[in-house]
Symmetry: C2
Subunit: 765 residues, 2 copies
Amino acid sequence: MPLPSPLLALAFALLAAAPPMPSPRDPAGYVRPFVGTKGEGNTYPGAQVPFGMVALSPDTDKKEYGTASGYEYSDPSILGFSMLHLSGTGIPDLGDILFQPTVGETCLTPGTKDFKEKGYQSRFRHDQESASPGYYSVMLDDYGVKAELTSTHRAGMLRFTYPASKESHVVLDLAHVLLHKVIWSRVRAIDAQTLQGMHLVKGWAKDRSVYFAARFSKPFKELRIFNDKKEAKYDSFKNYRFLSNAQASGADVQAVADYTTTAGEQILVKVGISPISEEAALRNLDAEMPDWGFENYVANARNVWNTELSRFEVEGTDAQKATFYTGAYHAFMAPNLYTDVDGRTRGQDHQTKTPKGYQTYTTFSLWDTYRATHPLFNLVQPDRNRDMVRSLLAAFEESADHLLPIWNFWSNETWCMPGYHAIPVIVDAWAKGMTGIDWEKALQACVASASHPTFDALADFERLGFVPFDVENESVSKTLEYAYDDACIARLARGLRKTAIAERFEKRAMAYRNLFDASLKLMRPKNSQGQWQTPFNPQEFKHLGPFTEGTTWQYTWSVAHDVPGLIRLMGGREAFTKQLDQVFKVQEKRQDAGVDDILGRIGEYWHGNEPSHHVTYLYAVAGQPWKTQALVRNLIDTQYGDQPDSLCGNDDCGQMSAWYLFSAMGFYPLCPGDDRYVLGSPALPKVSMKVGNGKSFTVRAENFSPANVYVQKTTLNGQPWTKAWLPHAALVAGGELVFTLGPKPNKAWASRHEAALGALHEKRP
Amino acid sequence: MPLPSPLLALAFALLAAAPPMPSPRDPAGYVRPFVGTKGEGNTYPGAQVPFGMVALSPDTDKKEYGTASGYEYSDPSILGFSMLHLSGTGIPDLGDILFQPTVGETCLTPGTKDFKEKGYQSRFRHDQESASPGYYSVMLDDYGVKAELTSTHRAGMLRFTYPASKESHVVLDLAHVLLHKVIWSRVRAIDAQTLQGMHLVKGWAKDRSVYFAARFSKPFKELRIFNDKKEAKYDSFKNYRFLSNAQASGADVQAVADYTTTAGEQILVKVGISPISEEAALRNLDAEMPDWGFENYVANARNVWNTELSRFEVEGTDAQKATFYTGAYHAFMAPNLYTDVDGRTRGQDHQTKTPKGYQTYTTFSLWDTYRATHPLFNLVQPDRNRDMVRSLLAAFEESADHLLPIWNFWSNETWCMPGYHAIPVIVDAWAKGMTGIDWEKALQACVASASHPTFDALADFERLGFVPFDVENESVSKTLEYAYDDACIARLARGLRKTAIAERFEKRAMAYRNLFDASLKLMRPKNSQGQWQTPFNPQEFKHLGPFTEGTTWQYTWSVAHDVPGLIRLMGGREAFTKQLDQVFKVQEKRQDAGVDDILGRIGEYWHGNEPSHHVTYLYAVAGQPWKTQALVRNLIDTQYGDQPDSLCGNDDCGQMSAWYLFSAMGFYPLCPGDDRYVLGSPALPKVSMKVGNGKSFTVRAENFSPANVYVQKTTLNGQPWTKAWLPHAALVAGGELVFTLGPKPNKAWASRHEAALGALHEKRP
């Protein structure tokens, strides 16, 4: 293979555009797309517009379970660039429709990470790699090819700068997908520079088809299509029948576009994606990328990002801004647009739909994102969140099981994670005044989902008041999560004056009490005879045991819908906070460390996973807000940052980042479905947030410094504010919340009155 | 398994409706759907309306290459009833979406023919089986279930009459397909009595998806879905995540509907099919089968058949009528409707299309059907044939290879058989006055197809004037078939005054001369240096040798487009007919018998395969029409009939039957693309044929008897007719052709003048 000389490679590297620098009107300049790409974050550095269907990004791996986004910063090579990616999930999938520019001998497989098996992959160096919102570039050292990526909503453009070679190629590998299996694929040339095709993947999503159309800027010198590694080419004597060299269908199909290139010659490929058909993919492509103006698409993508990121205006150090805007960037990646330019989408029933009046979104990591991501959207993405709620309700209508989505993407339900957390997303939107939804129908969908006769252990749950560990795995987690979601149903039903429904689900919402062992002050599994699990080791983590990805120490606190009730069960505020203190005590090194991609641990508090996310805020509800303040500021300082390894757990479609955004602003949606936010301690001198209708809500931190983590007092619009919480109405009205910070707790602030936040049956003060 | 008592089975059998009897207005009553189901005919006995998409028929086999229609009369058991079938092809495919009623233990595979492996198949007896156009019934002895079938264009209905049982089932096996492999399938319950789904088959058609929707007349007692033979059912401890029991996707999926039935209880299943989607299949179903009136659909199907069959009015014995109407029945099964009720179809490019102003047809066995089937359609199905021509031209537009169809079905090209015989279908339609086609565009499609740079050996053919055997298989067959098709292009080009095109293809049409070895008076392979193949054994048959499914003895006569030219090459009429006589001499038993599903052999004349079909008529062109007369009558008497084994070769989508229909009427389209028919000897006392515009053309045979095979004289509309051929115009004008027959040849009749029929450059007398 004619590798370019190191000098040539250097010359190309020098030609690379300098990374764009941030400016006041260019918050995108602060974004560090590599944050979360090293270790557990599972983000990707490629090119995507906010909530875009297409996330065109390099894949460095397709085999590791831990590399769910396709890209791991520590990997030595890039396999190619594929069109779709999951942002921050714990399970790999997508990575569809991979393109890789190569020079020299044609390879049809990526090769192995140890380079023992040669392939189309190429080594790369991070100093020859850059990424910014909507743009990614890297030098592929093995080929001397510079690859640059940008994207629109439904299309991506790849620009490859080649060395001089008579053997330059673009390899399209339809057999590539992350971790899982391509069952079938199809490719066809519709002219001398356009390919169309699809593949069907049996993956985490069990039955997923992706359609594409790819236009090349230069007519193929030759196009070679391979099926089961054999070139599709008619040979009179080998083949009985004519064999088309313009198309192929099979489980292992590659197409290789061959070129002769001059030094520095650029060949561009633009690729449209659709869930409907090849034809629809071409329509998406031609609508969104009518020409070859790569730089313009880069600029457009950055403009779109700036529009979205400008919903926040941040003061602070560059590092603080980088962390904040990167958080916003990650929070705005998913759910993903799932509607073609002609308004069509594919339903959960796999049929083509044309939703009226909204765009469909997909990829709902609801167990994660109901907590802070969707509440964030209710503030700064209300229109998109409305379309997301509509998407959830449409999916219910299309569901063969008559269930709201649990964890769905690309027309498939994965049933991943316990509970039915579309409900808090829906009810939080209702609680925060979303219009344009038929709430009666929404309530019916919630009730139907929570009443499913065979889903998980719902029947046992309703009959016994808890999920018994002897008939169902993850029994305590399920009990607590059902109870939470049921509290949301009850709130909505009360709001719609459906008393019978409200009473039924208020009762179910109290199910957490049935698993609270007062002697331990911990949740504890019970069997179907109502007996406690014995012996019971509170620190034991067991896969498919009673606790999902954790132990009772994380799960005991999963009663955000009735914190006062939990406080009473614990024996009052003092006992409650004392037990809570135990969570944050760093114990001896645990034998049984739990799930290995959950880091960010402070004792039994595991910031790298969602069940812990609201726990620090419980102190504020229980009258010790200074502990919330210290812990939150500590987490922000230690578990976030602007480096590739700055995320301590899966970003989970933005939930890790949304926790940060709220917490950095000084408040957090402890209990989605309730319209209040509990106050913490802001991590920036000043943040303004656009909350719609031209209004902004500003949080200012007086005396802000790393050491001044404690709130001394707060004012709202100049008036003293003494509560531990803030109502949604205050935020959307616009205004200014000023925290005055100091190095020592002001234990008198917001700690005296009973903070009933989260209580299902409460009278607000 | 609780098998019903023999008495019960007998009782059910007695309940079966008596087979309908024919009446003058009920030609369907003469049809014997079992003709061709035993041995090589490869027809099926199930329920289909003329040219219907759905052909709902029992499958007795899914493994034998020779059982291409799924049904072999000699088989002992029925595996089930599937929705789509190929009529008379040599290669199996389809057999999609199989339903089988069973009683007792649930089986998910059909079992083996020797019954060593138990399965859902059931034994049956032909005396408990009946079939008529649009209706089929059989008693499934293993279950005591009577199964009855009927169909509309896009849907089928199955009526199952069960014994009393608590374990009655309907098994839907999506893994079933004839011979080939189901790559993927999907099923989902959309309510308690409706299933939807699809499967993707890698078969003879390499990438074929079939969508279905099935409504059951009775809500399921239980519905069980199996994936990889495991029931899709959530088990808390076995399954990590919830598993839907209402849907599944995979390569091996079955759904079993369970019922408790009373004795004689009928459960009906109606099934819509679509090439587009499950939703479209449901729309097709609900549009065509809105209710459960099984008897009405049977009556409707028979009415539709009677309308089509009444295009012929036949006088003769019941056996003659049975043979004739069964021939018409088989000629009207394919091509198949391939348009949904909403007007959509799937193109050759796999994209959804909405053709304007016509219905798309699929399943074009063109190498066979260009000969007599499409010429028959030009007479009695002109509107359908117009839509077929439009379908062929649309497929050209959609073709990645820019080729007219060769042998396509269900959006896939199989490239089966040499030549490009869409062209004679198109040109024959033009020659016979078809309107509504853009003939300039049609010519362009023909020229493009015949000029493809890599298809088979077209480039060599044009360069050398023949296909050389050292670079391409089937070289002589390809040369002759290209030449024939090119003659058609030349005719169309002359007609459209495209002189340059006409001259180019007139030259190519003469290519047959280049392979004619005057010393042997046979076609002989040449290599690319222009040397004859040496040694050359004219009787040798070799798979992928120079001759397709035959030897030079069959192929030498494949010059229907220039019979006078071939006569001249042979050395004149006498030498020509002498050599032709050699064909029909029964030789010693051949060592090398050729393709094993070709029977109907008279020496080297193999009626069971298409290259021979025009050969008997060559005598009439060469001045010895009495030999044509005797041979044709002999073939009709010996190679056709009303029994299951009455077809001596694959019916090939109606070509074997269309040969019969023409020949029985006393004329045959020797050279499709030319507007004349060569006269033979009618095999019935009288046939009238509706030729459109309210006109009929009647053929009457005076002195008709089995022995009177020789034409003594003919009159057309009362005037003497002395030519060996009849123009198309005479047929479509309506009128009466009277043959006077006798036991001895009248060698003076139609033998004197040079019958130039077939000549490319001729002046008509």
